[in-house]
Symmetry: C2
Subunit: 283 residues, 2 copies
């Protein structure tokens, strides 16, 4: 997905939120915003938003000296999600369609996104999304590919959401490789967060090799690219991964909630809609 004009002020907002989370030193935060402001002119509008996100969070680390500003918040979100886990398993157990319910739960987890700057209440959002209609619903194709897949590559998004991913992974019934960011960026799930979420019990965990808050193939390491190209089925969670991969030349299933107007417009849906979208440009 390209960068939209609306993304540009959003980059400044993200820098401000990350800066404030990292430090109380207003001079450093001003320096960060000065640098990000100057960076706007160098953003090619045909680049994807997480490419700029990567640069911004590098600046956050450089200027504040804090590598993982969202560390405590991530831990707290993971713990909150783990506390909900038994209840969510019951919801799956009591449902008519275990797989679809687990997909809904995995999408509900996508509200735990500190890049977007919206408030969320995990429990309330889960309850809402369990009842919500999908705006894009390629479920039939999903079940078809799932049936035929020997293994699945699952691209993680946020820490906390990762616990919800575990529930879906348990329902897929196939060997799953769960992909995490190489280093902390916003509240995106890292190797450590994936372990805290219990994902090692249900999946192999690998890094994308990239620090960007979304999967940008050019930024990923060869080991990941090989897995990406050869995977029978890919499930991609969240906005950042969609932004990076929406024009990729292979089949991918995107599971997300459209949390900003730009994504919604790109997908042709309304803000806050939930999405299970298949792309297959080879077809």
């Amino acid at each position: 997905m390209k960068t939209y004009l609306d993304c540009l002020p959003c980059f400044m907002n993200q820098a401000l939120r990350a800066g404030k989370t990292a430090t109380k030193d207003e001079i450093k935060i001003k320096e960060l915003l000065d640098k990000v402001g100057c960076l706007i002119k160098d953003i090619p509008m045909d680049s994807t938003p997480p490419e700029t996100g990567d640069l911004i969070y590098q600046k956050v680390r450089e200027i504040t000296g804090v590598d993982d500003p969202y560390k405590k918040i991530k831990e707290s979100n993971i713990n909150e999600a783990l506390a909900l886990y038994p209840k969510l398993i019951q919801v799956v157990n009591n449902s008519d369609n275990r797989l679809l319910t687990a997909i809904r739960i995995a999408i509900a987890g996508n509200v735990i996104d500190l890049g977007v700057g919206k408030e969320f209440n995990i429990l309330e959002d889960v309850e809402k999304i369990l009842e919500q209609d999908f705006a894009i619903f390629d479920f039939e194709e999903f079940t078809y590919q799932l049936k035929n897949a020997k293994s699945i590559l699952y691209l993680g998004d946020n820490a906390g959401e990762s616990v919800f991913d575990k529930i879906l992974i348990e329902e897929l019934g196939k060997p799953v490789t769960y992909v995490v960011r190489d280093v902390p960026v916003i509240n995106d799930v890292t190797f450590e967060d994936a372990i805290s979420s219990g994902l090692d019990e249900v999946a192999e965990i690998i890094s994308s090799g990239s620090s960007a808050p979304g999967t940008i193939l050019n930024f990923c390491n060869n080991a990941f690219i090989e897995r990406f190209n050869s995977a029978d089925m890919i499930i991609s969670k969240g906005q950042g991964n969609y932004e990076g991969l929406s024009n990729v030349n292979r089949s991918v299933f995107f599971l997300l909630k459209a949390k900003c107007g730009v994504i919604a417009r790109n997908l042709g849906v309304e803000e806050n809609d939930i999405i299970l979208k298949s792309i297959d440009l080879k077809k």
Copy 2:
């Protein structure tokens, strides 16, 4: 009022909104955002936000070639307010305290602010503000000064709001000079807008001599400064004028709705609170 860190992304948002209102040419809007992004590093945090606002809207005019992007919206807001005018006069006529009701109406008009980027519904907001408690309420001092004033300087804010100002001016019962921006900036009231609002029927209309979206004394012409210094009583409407004058060394009454978190924090109130605040630093 100084510039807060939160103002910096807001400047980018304002530039985007103004750019989109002025033109559909995305290349020009990108150029505008590039320029405003670069300008962030040159903003002294002890300058007032409308000083930067002035620079931003100069860039909007330069880059888009449109001097008054909000012209049609202003006309429409004025017409909407004029259509409400007879009803609002009735509200004053039926009230126990005509002056206080007219003050509430004048503050209600302050929701018509296209700089802040919040949606508003004039009629709904008026009804709400007629019932709302004031967070700061220096009404006693206001009535005392009003009683003793021979004439009043009234600093206008937005077009449309200007019609609501007319209602308050009619209740003041003293000669009033209504101050407008020298040129169009955002949806702020200009000479032409004041005439369309019928303010020439109740007040003398003068320009501040400044193009900034708020009264910054250093930017105003001598004629205005003289009136400002010698006025018996000054009524200042809205956020921009408050931002410019909050530290001024004379008595001013600020009438506004706190429409963003930064203003609310500066005033020590909650967002959306309504304010009738007296300052008199000479005391």
